[in-house]
Subunit: 678 residues, 2 copies
């Protein structure tokens, strides 16, 4: 009898009325290639999150990552991660560590645990099973904060100091970022988002909670863009989130692009639906049957509708906050024109607006261009894009796309009007565009500007642009003085608000100014305005910029003019710094031998190209470092990822006569931007 079968005998035959869901995960630490890795088995309540740093600390092993299928095979003789149960533990081919979640250990011995869809076990029986591995076993409090390395000189502290240092740690727990942006970019990204209260993880994988600071960024983007498109005559509407399979599948190329990620509703209450209904991954096929119905005459053109909504793409790749999520917020504009010229003009106009969102609001530089045939929107004629750049990873990221659909969809959906020249001329199929920008833009903004102190939010989209903090209040300060300082600060706050600055004050005496400074640095408030007794005396305030701690002294009477100027300068400085990094990492390369080395230096590359799809695939293939047996996370620094074509930039270097393609022997027809990308 196999060990799994033995284990299964311990399990309950029937599903109990109540149970606690339990996960069993296997991690592999970073190990020298020549060494045998020690797997880490974590058994925890489903509701307990088991961060990698805690596992690292509990095991004293480096950088544990979820193990891949191959490792399940070699460690436990179990074919895949999915099949793995605790019944495989006795198979172990190597020593392993076993971490038990303290919350799980705290349950009653009679509690029933649910291990997967079919396995239920009494807690006491599970303990019995695990007791065989007592020597490797450890109870872990996964909610603990990972301790920073303590400096040796701190070792000798008396009890009082210890109590204080504990408090300091508790403060640090509330406010501090413990991961270095340069050393662990994904860990840093996750920490600043959660500790900065932009976002929280959610119990449905791939879905995230947008907390007020991030939703406010989105609202500011919405307001700006909505005004712009309404100026072009676009109207907002709302189409249903559901789409029947018949309609979804109308445009074949299009549905092929989306089908693997479509979520299907098959049940309502306790009734199975007659036919499953899809949740929109995008709304072309939702909308265009109605466009065909509504547009009866060329006078009904152009039709320009937009909606602000959420769409669902059930990706199975590793999700990432903002960048790759199963539900995301966006706007999708869908327009129909009588002529291709009008449509093409709009495509570019909208792309300019998208570049405006990135550059003028988010302070993120982008490169505008056209996607290659391989990378364009499924079912469209051509796709224009603005492409951003994340300096830490050297990877490009698609910012937003504006598609010209040509007549492909209008032919599918029979979106025609009578020829304006007269009924004797053939009917005209409308020319269509669709265009969208999503909350992904918020992630790009965070990655580009934020630092090891926390978030840096550009002022034009920040929920709050300025925090007013009274300073210089000590034990010696009289109540009257204190009152005066507070009142003066409140006055500053109210003047700022009246002049349209999104300001607030923090007048809580229970926290020190220093604590507050860290707090609002973590949250990325663009400027803080300090006001102490001396400032009041001298009739000014001290303004400190979040991004670089640069200080200004501003006369109180000039508040209303200077603060907006300071915010604008801050915006410009953020943008220029990011632009310098992008510009200096966007290199023109004409020789293939320089291509991969340049990529490895975190560059995106502008290279002469033949325009042939096979060559594009060859470039991707040839620029990928082969997997050398070391696991990697795709979202890590990804040295092994090949370079995709990002866009054919509108701004083209001059092509020399007889210039060959970077990769093949064909003549180059244009410069194309390539890079590793999100």
């Amino acid at each position: 009898m196999s060990s799994e079968e033995t284990f299964a005998k311990l399990c309950l035959a029937e599903k109990p009325a109540e149970s606690h869901a339990v996960k069993s995960l296997v991690f592999k630490p970073k190990t020298a290639k020549t060494a045998t890795p020690v797997p880490i088995v974590v058994v925890a309540l489903q509701t307990t999150s088991t961060p990698s740093p805690v596992i690292a600390q509990a095991t004293a092993l480096k950088d544990p990552r979820l193990a891949r299928d191959e490792l399940f095979k070699s460690f436990f003789n179990c074919d895949t991660a999915k099949e793995f149960t605790l019944g495989y533990l006795p198979n172990a081919t190597t020593e392993f560590k076993l971490l038990i979640d303290q919350n799980l250990a705290a349950l009653d011995e009679t509690a029933v645990l649910q291990l997967n869809d079919t396995l239920f076990i009494k807690k006491s029986d599970l303990c019995q099973h695990l007791s065989a591995f007592e020597s490797y076993k450890k109870l872990v409090d996964f909610s603990q904060e990972v301790k920073k390395e303590e400096k040796p000189k701190k070792e000798k502290t008396d009890k009082k100091e210890k109590a204080q240092s504990k408090a300091a740690l508790e403060d640090a727990k509330l406010i501090g970022i413990t991961v270095d942006k340069a050393k662990d970019f994904p860990g840093w990204y996750s920490q600043i988002l959660t500790k900065g209260e932009m976002l929280d993880y959610y119990d449905v994988s791939g879905c995230y909670i947008l907390r007020p600071p991030s939703y406010a960024v989105w609202e500011n983007i919405q307001r700006w863009f909505d005004d712009k498109i309404k100026g072009l005559g676009v109207q907002n509407a709302y189409f249903p989130m559901f789409v029947s399979s018949r309609v979804l599948e109308k445009e074949k190329d299009h549905v092929e692009g989306f089908a693997p990620e479509v979520a299907w509703v098959t049940r309502a209450g306790s009734s199975e639906l007659d036919e499953p209904i899809a949740i929109r991954p995008t709304s072309e096929t939702v909308m265009y049957p109605y466009y065909a119905k509504w547009i009866q005459s060329y006078r009904d053109l152009p039709l320009k509708l937009n909606q602000w909504n959420s769409v669902v793409r059930w990706e199975f790749k590793h999700p990432q906050p903002f960048l790759r999520t199963r539900e995301f917020l966006w706007q999708e504009g869908h327009t129909a024109f009588l002529t291709g010229e009008e449509a093409k003009e709009e495509v570019l106009q909208i792309l300019d607006f998208y570049a405006g969102i990135y550059e003028e609001l988010l302070a993120v530089p982008v490169v505008k261009g056209k996607k290659t045939e391989k990378e364009k929107f499924a079912g469209g004629d051509f796709t224009t894009t603005c492409e951003g750049y994340i300096p830490q990873t050297g990877r490009a990221i698609q910012g937003a796309t504006s598609h010209h659909l040509g007549q492909n969809f209008s032919k599918m959906f029979n979106l025609t009007v009578e020829n304006p020249k007269g009924p004797e001329f053939p009917k005209v199929y409308a020319y269509q565009n669709s265009w969208g920008i999503s909350t992904r833009s918020i992630g790009v903004m965070v990655m580009v500007h934020s630092d090891n102190k926390g978030l840096v939010i550009p002022p034009r989209v920040a929920q709050f642009q300025a925090v007013v903090i009274p300073v210089g209040i000590t034990k010696k300060t009289s109540d009257e003085q204190r009152h005066h300082i507070h009142e003066s600060a409140r006055d500053i706050e109210s003047r700022l608000k009246k002049s349209g600055i999104r300001a607030f004050g923090d007048y809580n005496d229970n926290y020190t100014p220093g604590w507050k400074f860290s707090q609002y640095e973590l949250k990325g408030i663009p400027i803080r305005i300090e006001l102490g007794p001396k400032d009041i005396e001298q009739g000014h305030v001290t303004v400190v910029r979040r991004n670089d701690a640069r200080k200004y002294s501003v006369k109180v009477e000039e508040l209303e003019t200077r603060i907006p100027e300071i915010l604008d300068e801050l915006h410009d400085d953020l943008f220029n710094k990011a632009k310098e990094l992008y510009d200096s990492h966007r290199v023109v390369i004409n020789e293939w031998k320089e291509f991969v080395p340049a990529l490895n230096k975190k560059n995106v590359i502008i290279a002469p190209w033949c325009g042939v799809m096979e060559c594009e695939e060859d470039i991707k293939e040839s620029s990928a470092k082969k997997d050398d047996g070391e696991e990697f996370e795709e979202d890590d620094k990804s040295p092994s990822m090949g370079a995709k074509s990002l866009c054919i930039p509108f701004n083209q270097p001059e092509l020399k006569d007889g210039q060959k393609c970077i990769k093949c022997d064909r003549a180059a027809i244009e410069y194309c931007m390539f890079g590793r990308s999100y």
Copy 2:
């Protein structure tokens, strides 16, 4: 062999690659009770809509409605509507009419038709089957417009006139409402919504498309309410639309209220999900686990979040645009406080905002009050509501609700803070509220104000408040004069826009002013501004109100002050007219014998009540006309519907000493408002 089996033999054994979906519907016309009804079988492409008026016209039968299960039994010996196929036709126990969709008839003889999930048939075989009923059969063009009854004097028209009258009809087809609000309220409602371009029907049942004019109403509501709640310190956020069953089912009373209507995603791409995921019907259980996590100290209270989103409630009752839809847009606010007092204060503040949306924006009067225990929000402490009234049907309609949840959810989700009095005191469970208003409000607005000419949209929420139309241009008008009139009109339009009026002009010379007037009356534009040669001479414009055709002459130099005044007067007049109707149909009744007669006169009733739930149920039961064998649509005038408790109005008549309950022998404790309702 039964006739169904014979029919099944005609069908294909295998699902073909391509097929056309076909529906077969059975309608029953309105018939004297003593007469035997003649069922109408409609066979049509799924994509063809088969409006009741067209069926009525094609069969010369009155008011056909979808037949109920009982009738399938008596007509075709088929147990339910769902089981019915064309195979049952030979079973007919009575003569019937058979209408075939012209679009279906136009298909190739070899086309394959899909009749239900499993039945596929070649068109030629279906025709063979139906040929047995040739005598009852008729081909129908369902896209035709129902002809108005032509007046006899029009009978003698020559060919030219006929051509003209055909054109007139085509115009009417574009713009006219053909159903009388007083005679067929549901038919009228559906027509003004679709022809007024507020909304369109969608191919997933219970879902509708919000076109720009209705979405603009929603945007105006959003802007107003969003400003109000932000003034209270509420912040916007976005939580995922998906919720795991474990979390959804956490609060038992609550989930019982929603479970029958929850839509479940069970599949993504081609993979079955490990566990089904629900789409939120509301977000209490989505949000509160995170509230519990985020709120660590009483200093984190109050927490006030709101989201603008869509929710899904898969109702199986007859859907109605805006009023009962499977997906709808709303906002949901969720707040948590340290004390019950603060929470209760907010509940009422929000209810006032909701009443403000109805009264100040939509010009719809409401009655504020508290729901009874029976009608309150599942899982909450108490529910406050504002209740509207639809004069045509005499039915009340719930406008929006603001719930005080007490500590019920905070106990379930362990949302606690340390007692501010000190750690030696017990922990405090937060006091919570939730509150929401949905796009249903738009339906109420439409029902209350609109008329037989089309929509009437109150000016504060209308997408466009004024349309400028040049008039008095005849064949004799010189090009120069015409140009001058147009330029003057454009000037008026631009001045209005500059002063913040949502105005547009219609300068299309291909349509007559009269045609334009009807067009914008249909769409409910609050005022039209006419400008002709005489107006220009006299330096004024003619303003005509949509609601009552009242005319004003406004001096051009006073445009910027007078137009806003006229719009405000229009708002007030709409509101006052609706208020008079509501006030005069809200009657205080103290004797049970007057209760049902008052209901039948389209009143809502304010009656003394004992406060006992059984009595409330008894009132509903006793005020329902029993089904007398005549079918009715619930959404029709519904004479058989019992009176529900609507609310205990805050504004209470004085209760006399010793006043008994309207229904039972117990003492009355308060006045309660009862009525038939949506």
